[in-house]
Amino acid sequence: MTFTPRDWRAHPPVIAPGYKSTRLRGATKPLIPIRQSLSELTGPVFGHDCLGPLDNDLTKNGRKEGEPLGERILVAGKVVDEAGRPQPNMLVEIWQANAAGRYVHKTDRHDAPLDPNFFGGGRCVSDDEGFYRFYSVKPGAYPWGNHENAWRPNHIHFSLFGPSIATRLVTQMYFPGDPLLALDPIFLATPEPARDRLVCAFDLSLTEADFALGYRFDIVLRGTLATPMEDKR
């Protein structure tokens, strides 16, 4: 068994000139192919035992004196591989700005208010069918220094391992209908046919009456290939 290759028709290149920081930080030489050995077929195992009781509820895990401000949301979806097979017990780490577009990170200098009741970091683990879910508030847009009047679209950062280090994925989930998507060099660095995979869908069936808007975001990790040569050993 090996993992399917990273599909470079889906992932952004390491140098995308419109996103200025890539120019000095992306590798310039071609990646060197590697035959997947036990080193690539394994990875850290994190399951439900690493979760704290409020880790999957960002509307609660930063509360000090009341509820965080903003539009309450539920984000849920299924983690699968390329063959559609559910990926159970997968850790999903998340972090995001608050409703005003400000990160709690010490070096975020954006002149928007911190919310004393919102932290913005959390995690959840997919269930036996690969479903994950967490509550939060919709993150705000914020300016950044890439170019004149540059603004990041609303987004939530995701980090997943999957079954091995080969399936590692760090990505960002965007929201439907955001006019900033068409202007964002990070989103636009993604090959065009794959961009819509980064945009969640509003989902009335996930929406909880009188409580939170529901958004669906499915995540597809690299799949597996049978390797007949090795199976014969």
Binding site: A10, L24, I32, S39, G84, G121, H157, S159
Partner: protein, 200 residues
């Protein structure tokens, strides 16, 4: 039915409170740390440290480095490694995974306290798998740390697959002047010393 892979996006500059909260002093328990040591140790304690340099030679202060390695007996703490999980073996608590941001050290180093891995199979020399993330990197990159004092490097198929003039970028030199053996492994994103990255 085939589904397309979800694209990668950059980890961005503000990952620390989500991914390395304890290291950076945020109020969220971490799932991991840069200290892989366990109470019972059968093997050699080592430190791995290094810095990340951009194409201008400037040190990167907002990178995140992850390492994944076998224990000193060459076993991964993972179900696919059938030799692991046996309570009769030493280092049964060794998880083999660590994560470190470069934003808390005065010199912007990443520093891992760990055990020197053993060889995972008959072909490969002992090594540590490394994943590199940072603002300005849209898709994470993989590399490997090999140890300069391992004779098995000469026969390692992965090292041999790398052009000879670039192999040194994967080999960490040992320095035992401080009492603990320190392997230094700098990562150069670009330039003459550009680190070899693998298409894992």
């Amino acid at each position: 039915m085939s589904k397309g892979q979800t694209p990668s996006q950059t980890v961005g500059p503000f990952f620390a409170y989500g991914l390395t909260p304890q290291q950076y002093g945020y109020p969220l328990a971490g799932i991991t740390s840069s200290d892989l040591r366990t109470p019972e140790i059968a093997g050699e304690l080592i430190r791995i440290e290094g810095r990340v340099f951009d194409g201008k030679g400037d040190v990167v202060g907002d990178a995140m480095i992850e390492i994944w390695q076998a224990d000193p007996q060459g076993r991964y703490a993972h179900p696919a490694d059938s030799r692991g999980g046996n309570v009769a073996f030493p280092n049964i608590a060794f998880r083999g995974f660590g994560r470190c941001g470069t934003g808390t050290d005065a010199e912007n180093r990443f520093v891992f306290e760990t055990l020197k891995p053993g060889a995972v199979d008959d072909d490969q020399a002992p090594h540590v798998n490394v994943i590199v993330f940072m603002r300005g990197l849209l898709s994470h990159l993989y590399t490997r740390i090999y140890f300069a004092d391992e004779a098995a490097n000469a026969g390692d198929p992965v090292l041999q697959s790398v052009p000879a003039e670039r192999r040194d970028t994967l080999i960490a030199a040992a320095d035992d002047s401080s009492g603990v053996v320190v392997y230094r492994f700098d990562i150069h994103m670009q330039g003459d010393k550009e680190t070899v990255f693998f298409d894992v």
